[in-house]
Amino acid sequence: MLLIDCPWCGPRDDAEFHYGGEAHILRPRDAAALSDEEFAEYLFMQQNPKGPHLERWSHAHGCRRWFNMLRNTATNEILEIYPMGEKPRSEAGKAAYEANWRRGSAAEANALSGESS
């Protein structure tokens, strides 16, 4: 039973929350341009690390807001909570973000195409 510090409501029992899978999976902008394999990377493939994992949660039975969380899947330690649309700031979070095979994948490149950054 995790104790999750909702950015809007404060620490609450995990029964109030809904797990939303891996964070930072960008939706392709021009999915038609992707091969079936590349699209499958976006649609089906998820990380399953033993250790720090960037993931999405929503306070489903509270404020109903979504946010990002860095959780160690081996210990359930919550290392960082940060807003939707932003990237992790902690060292562990940055490392987990960079270590993800998705960085640089065709699906992610497609999603980023046209973005200024």
């Binding site: 039973m1 995790l2 939706r27 992707l34 210990t75 649309g85």
Partner: protein
């Protein structure tokens, strides 16, 4: 008649002024307030309390605590009867009724004990080896095994007791109220922290309750305990819970405590629950769970009368009960010396001490010698005798390495044996917290090593066995826990402690017998599951190396006691056989709950009507009065059909279905999910979540939409109307409403935060009556004068606002039956009024209320799908032959790209078709599998399944919808539906059956 022949005069803390009567196996006995069932039985000389699991051997009381493996009792009668309760944890009360288990016909003569004679055929893995083949017989075997084994009987009726849950937050939660726990509570409490101290016993004090040879701060240890408890009770921020077991340690210091509130009372007050489950979040946890003594593994070490040394001491000191008239000690450490002295001090006969250690030099040894107690050093018990209770033992000298017994056997008469093989810290909760253990050679047990959560271990559970160390660790842990909460830890001076000095231990994991292991007597390791040292050896010889495999193969530690007394012995024996040490063998996983817990406590009050919320519509009372049968749709209760007197369900549904197309039908459609969507980007948003086009839908118009998941599979459908340029009213399936709102929110917040859209559930705000049939326009016209209801002014798939029966209403001209239809939405509070007005005005049109079953038939006649019935998460719009609703022009919508995946465009996917049975009166069961080629028996290749199937009175025959592989290419083919006992044949058609031209929607 007192009959308590083994009660020791003047000893113990039981209340001699409060005698209590109880029955065990039908016989009447007497004990005192303060007794446990175990101590009261022993006071009456009753040691034999059960038969063992596999061999049905006579078993006695082994412990005085919650680790008890043998004395499992069926307690109480009727629906309150409860199996497998440890006699050592049952507080005696007047009128208590207890029965032994696992014996037939009686405890003293048990048929099953023939297993004991057949023991050569019941080695470890016996059940696996014997009963796993042939697999089809397993069901029969299992039945037989369970009857023969039987761990008590579960009551068949509903539990009449009430259970409660309580949630809480504490600064410091302390598990265990022995010296370490009390010291921790004192330190944290004095610091001002909010403290909760829980102990599974009826009194605080832990091991000190059983000992009389220690003093703290110049007073007997127990007096110190009472002083501390009084001080803690006076602290407003400290909660003391007795009879409260810390059962589970979960993530982020989430702790469950099971408090037995009234189990110890004969007559429980009505206001109190039987048990209370505390769900606590502790900022800091102090584990002070103590330690459990382990038995020695020697030949026939399971006879009644053989108990742990600490238990013998508890019985004589705390309960004033002599374990026997001639008690023999058998030990590998000094603990039994304390017991011998305690027994002697209370005038109990002591037959001597058999000690596997060749040389014992300690203060205790000196005291024992001074007391005139014979010590057989360097000796071992090699055999025990006595059929229903131990009567004598054989003792032989051990060789220097302890591996063999030599010389002449000497017989010693005794009627009880107090055994000590050392102490095992109770690391269960630490291990549950995910903490890592390490092996301590010094105490030959696992102790806490690497902490993962916010907890501290103190005292015996931390491997500190002396009283002085327990107190010091308790004070330190309590102070540190309070300090971690921002309190200033109090200064507590070390207390002067007097206690017997405990010397070295000599581990002898298997005590040699007269013959090689397994050839004379049984060396029990796990008493509850009847696992012997020979079984562990056999498992090792058969190649089991992993401790988890060993556990499952021999069933060591898999009883309801979870191996509290057996784990270390089993691991050490395994290590010896494998030539490894215990850390090399490792240990099995400790899982909650710490002791068996009542399931009722976990359910709490969430049973019966409170199990799940029930949602009912504003018209619910009318449906009930009309005699409707109801069905659950999610949490909603929906009117299913309205039988008239004498009607069968089929007759009622047929009548309702015909009326809806002949005159007027009326349906309570309130339960459909309704989401109010507003914002400048609302149309763009819908354009992305639905498969069809939404940007150009004019205000006042409605459109049917299909929602896909990103994988292209249908997730929901419904009609959405555009109320204004920036305002939509979406409807969803009844069951999908919550999920769709979540879905919309997720996309808005995580993927498209730039869209200015707000979604609100308004399902509860609107009551909806849907009227349909050729006369429904005339009916509505009688109640609604401010809307032009003509086809021209109010066309199909549009919405008008006005008043119906004087109630402000939104009227949708949409149809789920294919008939001319109006859905009248009014604020919920007017729902019943609207319904009654429609029923009254509808009388002359033969208005007929219809339920969900008729609704299903009506829509199936038209071939309209129901998401969740025609779909199951693997069905695409194409599979449903609904490509018409999937936009080819839109650049994107959720699920669009996935519809191009190779698996989705495959030609032989299952497609939705209709099925017409050869016999028009035959209705295929929904879910039935469809085959192309019928074989005499399964397996047969299944090519699809029936999704919807009804009798259609409007078609005059049965109709069915089915998903069939390559279905569109099979039109006219006859397929086979094999059922048990019969086979149905049906012809494939289009999945539409009535009004194929769609001429009825305009009336």
């Amino acid at each position: 008649m007192s009959g308590q022949g083994f009660r020791v005069k003047g000893a113990g803390d039981v209340d001699r002024a409060a005698p209590l009567k109880f029955t065990f196996d039908g016989r009447k006995y007497e004990g005192y307030r303060g007794d446990t069932l175990a101590s009261a039985l022993l006071a009456n000389g009753v040691h034999l309390v059960g038969r063992s699991f596999k061999y049905h051997r006579p078993r006695g009381i082994m412990s005085a605590g919650s680790e008890e493996p043998n004395a499992l009792i069926q307690l109480g009668d009727g629906h309150r009867s409860e199996p497998n309760i440890r006699a050592t944890r049952i507080e005696l009360r007047d009128g208590l009724v207890a029965e032994s288990q696992n014996r037939w016909p009686s405890l003293k003569f048990d048929i099953g004990s023939v297993n004991n004679l057949l023991h050569r055929f019941l080695p470890s893995g016996f059940y696996y080896k014997t009963f796993m083949w042939p697999a089809s017989w397993w069901m029969k075997y299992e039945h037989w095994i369970r009857r023969a084994a039987g761990l008590g009987k579960a009551p068949t009726g509903r539990d009449p007791d009430r259970y409660e849950k309580r949630h809480g937050h504490v600064d410091v939660l302390i598990a265990g109220g022995g010296p370490a726990g009390l010291a921790a509570a004192l330190a944290a409490g004095r610091a001002g922290a909010r403290v909760l101290l829980a102990d599974e016993g009826s009194e605080f004090g832990g091991a000190l309750l059983a000992d009389r040879d220690q003093s703290i701060d110049g007073v007997p240890a127990l007096d110190w305990v009472r002083g501390v408890v009084a001080e803690l009770e006076a602290m407003p921020e400290v909660t003391l819970l007795r009879r409260a077991t810390v059962t589970g340690y979960y993530d982020h210091n989430y702790i469950t405590v099971l408090e037995r509130v009234t189990d110890h009372l004969g007559d429980a007050p009505d206001h109190a629950p039987r048990q209370r489950l505390w769900k606590l979040r502790a900022k800091r946890m102090v584990l002070a769970a103590g330690a459990i003594e382990r038995p020695l593994v020697f030949a026939d070490n399971d006879r009644p009368g053989i108990m742990l040394s600490s238990a013998a001491r508890a019985y004589v000191n705390r309960f004033g009960v002599a374990p026997g008239r001639r008690v023999l000690m058998f030990t590998n450490n000094d603990d039994a010396y304390r017991t011998a002295l305690a027994l002697k001090a209370q005038g109990v006969g002591v037959a001597g001490i058999v000690d596997v250690r060749a040389k014992v030099e300690s203060e205790l040894a000196q005291a024992v010698s001074d007391a005139g107690i014979t010590v057989h050093a360097g000796h071992a018990i090699v055999a025990t005798r006595g059929s229903l209770r131990v009567s004598s033992v054989d003792v032989m000298r051990l060789t220097a390495d302890g591996a063999t017994a030599t010389g002449m056997a000497r017989r010693i008469d005794c009627d009880a044996i107090a055994v000590s093989g050392g102490w095992t810290p109770s690391v269960h909760l630490f291990s549950q917290s995910a903490g890592k253990l390490r092996w301590s050679e010094e105490i030959a047990a696992f102790i806490p090593d690497i902490s993962v959560q916010n907890e501290l271990s103190a005292g015996a559970c931390n491997g500190a066995f002396s009283l002085a160390d327990c107190l010091e660790q308790g004070f330190t842990a309590g102070g540190a826990a309070a300090a971690a909460n921002g309190f200033e830890a109090p200064v507590i001076d070390a207390l002067a402690v007097e206690e017997p000095e405990i010397g070295d231990r000599l581990d002898l994991w298997v005590v040699p017998g007269r013959k090689p292991l397994g050839h004379a007597g049984k060396h029990f390791v796990d008493f509850q599951n009847d696992v012997t040292a020979a079984d562990v050896h056999l498992a090792a010889r058969e190649g089991y190396r992993s401790v988890e495999h060993l556990k499952r193969y021999t069933t060591t530690g898999m009883g309801t006691d979870q191996g509290k007394t057996s784990n270390i012995n089993a691991l050490a024996i395994m290590g010896e056989v494998l030539g490894a040490n215990v850390p090399g063998v490792g240990h099995t996983t400790f899982r909650p709950p710490y002791t068996p817990s009542t399931i009722g406590a976990y359910a709490g009050r969430n049973i019966g009507d409170l199990f799940d919320p029930v949602r009912s519509t504003a018209m619910d009372a009318w449906h009930r009065e009309a005699g409707a049968k109801f069905e659950h749709v999610g949490q909603w209760m929906r009117a299913w059909y309205y039988p008239k007197t004498g009607e069968t369900m089929r007759q009622a549904v047929d009548r309702e279905v015909l009326a809806a197309r002949a005159s007027v039908g009326i349906l309570d459609a309130t339960t459909l999910g309704k989401i109010d969507i507003q914002g400048p980007d609302a149309a763009e948003f819908l354009n992305r979540v639905y498969t069809n086009a939404w940007l150009k839908l004019a205000p006042g118009r409605a459109r049917y939409g299909l929602m896909l998941k990103e994988d292209g599979m249908v997730m929901d459908d419904g009609v959405t109307v555009r109320l204004a340029e920036d305002h939509f009213h979406m409807t969803t399936t009844t069951g999908g409403a919550g999920g769709v709102l979540d879905w919309l929110e997720e996309w808005l917040q995580t993927e498209w935060p730039d869209l200015k859209v707000f979604c609100s559930s308004v399902t509860e705000q609107w009551a909806v009556a849907s009227i349909c049939g050729p006369k429904c326009r005339e009916l509505l016209a009688e109640l609604c004068t401010d809307i032009d209801l003509s086809n021209e002014a109010f066309p199909f798939m549009s919405i008008q606002t006005g008043t119906v029966a004087g109630i402000p209403a939104r009227v949708f001209r949409i149809s789920f039956t294919g008939e001319l239809s109006f859905e009248i939405n009014v604020p919920r509070r007017h729902g019943l009024t609207l319904w009654k007005a429609l029923m009254a005005a509808g009388e002359k049109y033969d208005i007929c209320p219809y339920g969900t079953e008729a609704m299903h038939v009506l829509r199936a006649e038209k071939g309209f799908i129901i998401v969740g019935q025609e779909t199951d998460g693997t069905v695409t719009p194409g599979d449903l032959c609904m490509d018409w609703i999937v936009s080819k022009k839109k650049p994107d919508f959720i699920g669009k790209r996935a519809l191009l995946r190779p698996d989705i465009v495959k030609v032989d996917r299952k497609r939705l078709v209709g099925l017409l049975t050869e016999d028009p009166n035959e209705v295929i069961p929904e879910g039935a599998q469809i085959v192309e080629r019928l074989l005499p028996e399964p397996p047969m290749e299944m090519i699809g399944h029936v999704t919807s199937s009804y009798y259609s009175p409007n078609c005059g025959r049965s109709i069915a919808m089915a998903l069939v592989k390559g279905g569109l290419e099979r039109m006219g083919e006859t397929l086979t539906i094999p059922l048990s006992g019969k086979t149905i044949k049906a012809v494939v058609t289009e999945a539409r059956f009535f009004d194929l031209e769609g001429e009825r929607a305009d009336g």
